[in-house]
């Protein structure tokens, strides 16, 4: 979707004689050479690797309208605003002049998935360089036109000038002028003179969202649109016993009942008619179920007994023979849900042998390929357009509902078919965050220093994204079913189940082993931060246990083993702003600390928390949280704060409340009653986020930096408050009471 430039607001500002924030003079940088023989594509940073031409990223129309194109999708993380800031900074224009087009297979670069906190590193880096080079081209074209030296050209808010000469950006770059290869060394503006990058620019999408303007795929109302619903099997292995399609076809407004193997759907004229038909379908369908899920209480045993592909992902040093103490502990995390507030939704239209899909997928290009396979069409005949949905936090039902919509649209061609999943479709059928076990062992010398470290992690797959049609739920349900892609471990340095399993601490000897479990009783995939949530929870809980065992302050203990100065800086800052040393214990209250650098290559985050434990009820509450982060050069400080605050609250919910429930044949947590999440009374009392800015340093993704440290800070706070160590997520009141009684 295109974010409109707020021209009216700008006109009002000009009419009022107000200063435009960008109106200060700056000498344009010398012309960057833009010959096609410049830096090889392979050396280009970020997503310039896949789209090396600058007009793939930035276009300027004849009137000077600037449009930025990104293959990354707005997921509520504020990426559109941040990317506009990046472009506006380099182009020396008011951000309100810049429109953005995001994630459309016909219009934008292919940047794969919007995932892994990569958007600023991939797209932000590409757009920054493309915009910087565009600025250089504008200056050189202006110099030629004016007959002056490039150093005499002034660029200011969309106009180039030199003495009496003036030309708008749109007059300077016509036709193919921007169709040149990007350069890795395009001249970036000095961070010290930034006027919009690094500022808390307001999100462009929020006014529409608070006022009911169309903002989401759920809000699309296309001409002639009809409504679909799908009937899911009772459980992952249930087969359809009996189903009387004619009883559904006879209901008011029903246009079509589709049955193809285990895939069942209905198309109706009006939305409520589709819901009524769906309800009736759930009542009359009979399913044959066979037990396939682990029995209650046997989940973790079944994981340890499942066939695994083992790989040692890091190994150094040799364990000493004369060490004094060896300690070990195991940490567990159940299936957890993305649990988006708005169930997944998509609109699809099939016309002739083309298909258009409007979707809140995280990857329009991979989805196009999978839908094309599902419909047996060439990929060029499928177009996928990203439209925002409810927050997804990874691979939720977005791609699956797009496939549902495509199949129903094929059955009712010529009309857009909107498919809205019902609550239980999302809760019972999204691909969950995988269950995990981490077993850690450390050996300490006589001085209390860690001399050997071992970390074994068992996990189901963290990515079953499409892929092909077999990675779409509907593709596995149709009679002529597609085969899911064989799951593979995501490679280091990012990793999947082993993400952040390698500690950033400087241990002289260590061995880290990933036990990848490809067989999934319940489908699993990417949930925000993947394995980092659990591995950091385990590592940072274990560090706390070791510090306690040695009666050492847990922050001192961490710093003693940490060599990375940026890590030391955020640890020190969080401790200082929390008031760690001045903190005094009181009944039922404890303090907990944790740190990680996401993926060991993205943002740094340290979190200190004060935690309250009610001995009577077992309820755990975060009284206050203080975080310090380093995301490299900051583009939007409020965007980073919002991500860190949200990460802490979401991880608090995961850690205190959340586990998918199931019996032998089906998922039983099918709504918010069965899968409770944090509500307002349980939200932390306060969260303060302190930012370390690193002007000139690369952007470091932030959206997944807080989750692991937040979980461990809670566990460590509970241990400090009441002396019990919680290693099984979630820390429900019943579990806490049980631990207190033990």
């Amino acid at each position: 979707m295109t974010a409109r430039v707020d021209r009216a607001a700008r006109r009002r500002l000009l009419a009022a004689g107000g200063a435009i924030v960008v109106s200060f003079p700056l000498r344009a940088a010398p012309l960057a050479r833009t010959s096609a023989a410049s830096a090889p594509v392979a050396q280009l940073p970020g997503s310039l690797k896949s789209e090396p031409f600058i007009d793939g990223w930035i276009r300027i129309d004849a009137l000077g309208g600037i449009t930025v194109f990104t293959g990354k999708a707005e997921l509520g993380q504020g990426i559109k605003t941040a990317l506009i800031q990046v472009a506006a900074e380099q182009l020396l224009v008011d951000p309100r002049r810049v429109a953005i087009v995001a994630a459309d297979t016909e219009r934008t670069p292919d940047e794969g998935y919007t995932a892994g906190s990569h958007s600023m590193q991939d797209s932000g880096t590409a757009i920054r360089l493309a915009a910087a080079q565009t600025r250089a081209i504008l200056a050189s074209r202006a110099a030629m036109r004016f007959g002056v030296g490039v150093e005499d050209v002034l660029l200011r808010d969309g106009v180039a000038s030199a003495g009496v000469h003036r030309a708008g950006y749109g007059e300077l770059v016509t036709g193919e002028v921007l169709h040149v290869r990007a350069r890795a060394d395009a001249p970036l503006r000095d961070p010290r003179s930034h006027f919009v990058s690094g500022k808390a620019w307001s999100r462009i999408d929020i006014p529409a969202k608070v006022s009911g303007a169309a903002a989401y795929v759920q809000d699309l109302r296309l001409e002639g649109m009809v409504h679909g619903r799908v009937l899911r099997p009772a459980g992952p292995n249930a087969t359809l016993g009996s189903f009387d399609a004619s009883a559904i076809a006879a209901l008011p407004g029903v246009l079509k009942v589709v049955q193809d193997g285990r895939f069942v759907g209905v198309v109706a004229q009006r939305e409520w008619q589709a819901v009524v038909a769906w309800r009736r379908m759930t009542q009359i369908a009979r399913w044959d179920e066979t037990p396939s899920l682990p029995l209650p209480g046997t989940l973790y045993r079944s994981l340890r007994e499942a066939p695994s592909e083992d790989s040692v992902i890091a190994e150094r040093g040799t364990p000493p023979l004369d060490a004094t103490t060896s300690i070990s502990a195991a940490y567990r995390r159940p299936y957890q849900a993305h649990a988006s507030i708005g169930p997944s939704c998509a609109v699809a239209r099939v016309a002739g042998n083309t298909c258009t899909v409007w979707s809140h997928t995280q990857g329009v290009f991979p989805l196009r390929k999978a839908i094309a396979e599902l419909l047996r069409l060439p990929a060029e005949q499928v177009r996928c357009i990203h439209v925002e949905g409810s927050g997804c936090y990874g691979h939720n039902g977005a791609d699956d509902v797009a496939a549902d919509a495509a199949l129903l649209a094929r059955a009712w061609p010529g009309r857009p078919v909107r498919v809205q999943w019902m609550r239980e479709d999302e809760h019972a059928w999204e691909p969950y965050g995988p269950p995990m076990i981490a077993e850690l062992r450390a050996t300490l010398d006589a001085s209390g220093a860690i001399v050997d470290w071992a970390h074994d992690v068992w996990s189901n797959p963290h990515s079953t994204r499409p892929g092909g049609a077999g990675d779409l739920l509907a593709g596995t349900l149709v009679a002529d079913a597609f085969v899911p892609t064989l799951p593979k471990p995501l490679p280091q340095p990012e990793g999947g189940g082993d993400r952040n399993a390698i500690p950033l601490y400087a241990f002289p000897s260590l061995r880290i082993t990933h036990h990848f479990l490809p067989r999934m009783p319940l489908r699993t995939s990417a949930l925000r931060s993947l394995g980092a949530y659990h591995n950091v929870f385990a590592i940072e809980s274990f560090m706390d246990e070791l510090a306690r065992a040695g009666k050492v302050d847990p922050i001192d203990f961490r710093l003693r083993h940490m060599r990375d100065p940026r890590a030391q800086a955020v640890i020190g800052l969080a401790a200082e702003r929390f008031g760690w040393t001045a903190w005094r214990p009181r009944a039922g209250r404890g303090r907990g600390f944790a740190f990680a650098r996401y993926k060991n290559l993205a943002a740094y985050a340290a979190i200190a928390m004060e935690v309250e434990v009610r001995r009577d009820s077992g309820a755990v509450r975060v009284v206050r949280a203080v975080a310090a982060t380093d995301s490299g050069e900051i583009v939007n400080p409020d965007g980073i704060r919002n991500q860190i605050e949200g990460g802490i609250v979401q991880a608090t919910s995961w850690t205190l409340f959340e586990a998918v429930a199931f019996d032998a044949t089906r998922v039983t947590s099918r709504d918010w009653g069965g899968y409770p999440i944090l509500r307002f009374p349980q939200a932390p009392g306060s969260i303060d986020v302190h930012l370390v800015d690193r002007p000139g340093e690369p952007f470091l993704g932030t959206g997944e930096a807080a989750q692991g440290p937040a979980a461990a800070a809670i566990a460590n706070g509970v241990a400090d408050a009441v002396g019990v160590r919680l290693r099984d997520i979630p820390f429900t009141p019943a579990r806490v009471r049980e631990a207190l009684a033990a």
């Binding site: 009216a8 607001a9 997921l75 509520g76 993380q77 504020g78 307001s202 999100r203 999408d205 929020i206 006014p207 529409a208 969202k209 608070v210 006022s211 009911g212 303007a213 169309a214 903002a215 989401y216 759920q218 809000d219 109302r221 939305e271 409520w272 819901v275 649990a339 988006s340 507030i341 708005g342 169930p343 925002e388 949905g389 409810s390 927050g391 936090y393 809205q420 019902m422 609550r423 409020d638 919002n642 605050e645 949200g646 990460g647 802490i648 609250v649 979401q650 608090t652 919910s653 709504d671 918010w672 009653g673 999440i677 944090l678 509500r679 307002f680 009374p681 939200a683 932390p684 969260i687």
Partner: protein, 162 residues
Amino acid sequence: MTALAFDVNGRTQSVDVDPATPLLYVLRDDLRLNGAKFGCGLGQCGACTVIVDHGAVLSCITPVSLVVGRRVRTVEGLGRADRPGPVQQAFIDEQAAQCGYCIAGMVMRAQALLERTPNPTDDEIRREMAINLCRCGTHLRILRAVRRAASLLAASVRSSAP
């Protein structure tokens, strides 16, 4: 089917639908209003919150027949993107949204609370807002927005007083 008439955001609307249809579907599909959102259809999450007369109501479980002759307000009735009302302005000022899917419901519940209790305590706000779920973790910004909205509303009442 029968024509059912009620007031929506100050205008009388008449719809010809099955009286059992939840208000949510009438607002979204017949009146083409986006503010109330489908979240659960079970009255568990608050994404569909609107105000009927003076109380916050979950429109996904409220049959349209129950609001006949009554006054329904949705987030569209509080202001527009370019002319936001006080509660909407407070949410913008606090940048109190991530994905924003829950936010229209939050705004409506806050509006109803502040009309009833103009100066709520932090505990009162948390208790009242407990019905509405947010998954992005924007809770503390939403709480700040509600407190800010209380002062903005108080100021607008003072300035409009005779």
